[in-house]
Amino acid sequence: MVGNPMRLEPREQRSLAVILGYPLVALAVAAAFCAILVMFSGANPLSVFGLMVKGALGTQFAFLETLTRATPLIFTGLAAAVAFRAKLWNIGGEAQLYAGAVMTVVFGTGLLPLPWPVLIPVLMVAAMLGGAIMLSIPTFLKTRFGVDEVVTTLLINFIAILFVSMLLEGVLKDPMGLGWPQSKKVIADAQLGKLVQGKRLHFGFVIALLAALAIWVIDRRSALGYEMRAVGHNPKAAAFAGIPVNRVLAKTALLSGGLAGLAGYSEVAGLKGNLTLDLSPGFGYTGIVVAMLAMLHPLGVVAAAIFVAAVFVGADAMSRTAGVPSYIAHVMVAASLLCMVTAVMLTRYRLRWR
């Protein structure tokens, strides 16, 4: 049997060249891959990179659009990061996001006629609660019956979306929506203002940044953050030391689910105004990728979310300018993701051949 000729060795120190170099190489590789694909469509492959940068960051409009798309990803990325820290494999960000959105429209469409300084915090808490409950079910099944949460959270995504569909064709249906499965609009006091007049970027982005900061503090300084890390790394040792493992997992679920629920709130109250079945084009799943790209670091999540959003927005705009099928945008996101996680790994390990 042939041996594996490759070994990984941890790097003792990481030079700046390595930290910056590998990610840049990763981006170049991904762009080269997409350039080849673009060539097949007859467009000029060399223009791809420039068009992408322009499409993502080139104008104020593009840059703000990138941040707009990054906003829900920061929330879902934080949700995944928090859960994964404690080795709670939450793949159900999508369901939790919708749960948060449902809570937002249940309470935000007129049921609570409160002024905005009261209503907005109330809705945020409600949305967090929705997401939290959504994740608490699989967490309970895990701690009580030992049911694998990867699978349950995944399955609950389907159930949740069907449930939302049922609500939107039933009790939550907008009577003014001419039969479309959509909810009523949230009232003006429930809406998050725009950050820039006439653009889509909204205060949800600021909330996302604050959330990242808060999670960072919790992770670094708080007893809960410590407990979550300990439980994630070694639940047996944590239990021995007196850390209540199941309770910590329950708290983790509340926090993680709550963050994903906030994504739903922010999309409804900041961007869409109401709830539809396509509120999220997979933000829950992309959040996992964002979290891992950030190596579960809360502030890294912000950067990773903006990166992922920029690649998508840039590539999508590029597809229109260059006249290639728009599916190239997702190809580019996937390629740069895979290249990027590899690059991040290579900044920590050295490849050795023998």
Binding site: F145, T286, Y327
Partner: protein, 313 residues
């Protein structure tokens, strides 16, 4: 006809088996990967790529069986990519898997659009036709349910036997099972962990590709965006449900197919008074309940999702 009578109709069981067929392939594929310690969340995309490449091959003039081969090859190519990233490089299996799903499906769509830039209705092929097994297909009820299926369905059942034989009777199968339990045990017996895992993920992904191609070569005759429609994720659940055993996984897939076929029929019965979403939810809810019931006995591959880096403890 009432809810109970439906259970005794041959067509219900025939539908259950039809619905289960792609799931059987893909579940077996995921099972092999996980038995080797690698979670393959790329399954959804790999099925898409299988559905597309198999169909395209046939559309371009290849035979149906060549289409299956193409699906298997394309599936294992993406499996290789996944394996290279998570086995020797030890990247997160979650992220890589989700990345593979995104890459494989969007690449399929992109190529589809390059090949068919100007279509207003999906191009079709001539798919597999049901093949009635002589004599057996004439048995009442059972014959109609089991022996009037397309050849791919028979292949799915054969695959269960083959995979069982492979895992439990061959030296390579033993290596795969062990590498998912304790890679050090494999290394200590002189076998390279990396190669075993890569091979297992490729083989498993080939099966996922075939599972995807069932959708375009047997269940239907053209390729659609998003047509895998979550079937891959269901297979992940089925693997757990089947406690990582091919026989039980088959049972799980059939059960799921049965739930699905049954809910389709119940939907007609309920006369629109129960929201249709309730029926669509049924298979998922029942899967979770089944998982709770099975949870006590599940024996995980111990090294699942644990990267193995030689010389590191």
């Amino acid at each position: 006809m009432d809810a109970v009578e439906i259970l005794f109709t041959a067509s219900l069981w025939a539908a259950a088996i039809r619905i289960a067929s792609p799931l059987i392939f893909a579940t077996l594929g995921e099972l092999i990967c996980e038995r080797a310690g690698v979670l393959n969340l790329g399954i959804e995309g790999i099925m898409t790529v299988g559905a597309f490449s198999g169909w395209l091959t046939v559309y371009m003039g290849g035979s149906l069986w060549l289409g299956i081969l193409a699906a298997a090859v394309a599936g294992s190519a993406f499996g290789l990519l996944h394996a290279l990233l998570v086995v020797p490089l030890g990247l997160s299996q979650h992220v890589t898997g989700i990345g593979i799903t995104l890459l494989a499906s969007s690449l399929s769509y992109y190529v589809y659009r390059l090949v068919f830039p100007e279509v207003t209705s999906p191009p079709k092929i001539e798919p597999f036709q049901p093949w009635n097994v002589p004599v057996l297909s004439d048995i009442p009820v059972i014959g109609e349910a089991l022996f009037r299926q397309t050849p791919l369905t028979y292949l799915a059942f054969a695959a269960v036997l083959l995979v069982s034989w492979f895992l439990y009777r061959t030296p390579m199968g033993l290596a795969v099972r062990t590498v998912g339990e304790n890679p050090s045990a494999v290394e200590a017996q002189g076998i390279d962990v990396t190669w075993v895992r890569i091979a297992a993920v490729m083989a498993g992904s080939a099966l996922m590709g075939i599972g995807g191609s069932f959708l375009t070569l047997s269940a239907f005759n053209s390729f659609f965006f998003d047509m895998v429609n979550g079937r891959g994720w269901i297979c992940i659940a089925l693997v757990v449900f089947g406690s990582w055993r091919p026989g039980k996984a088959l049972l799980g897939a059939l059960l799921f197919g049965l739930f699905d076929a049954y809910q389709l029929r119940l939907q007609q019965l309920a006369g629109g008074y129960v929201p249709y979403q309730v029926f669509l939810m049924l298979p998922f809810v029942l899967s979770i309940i089944a998982l709770i019931v099975m949870s006590r006995r599940a024996a995980y591959p111990r090294a699942l999702m644990v990267p193995y880096r030689k010389g590191e403890r």
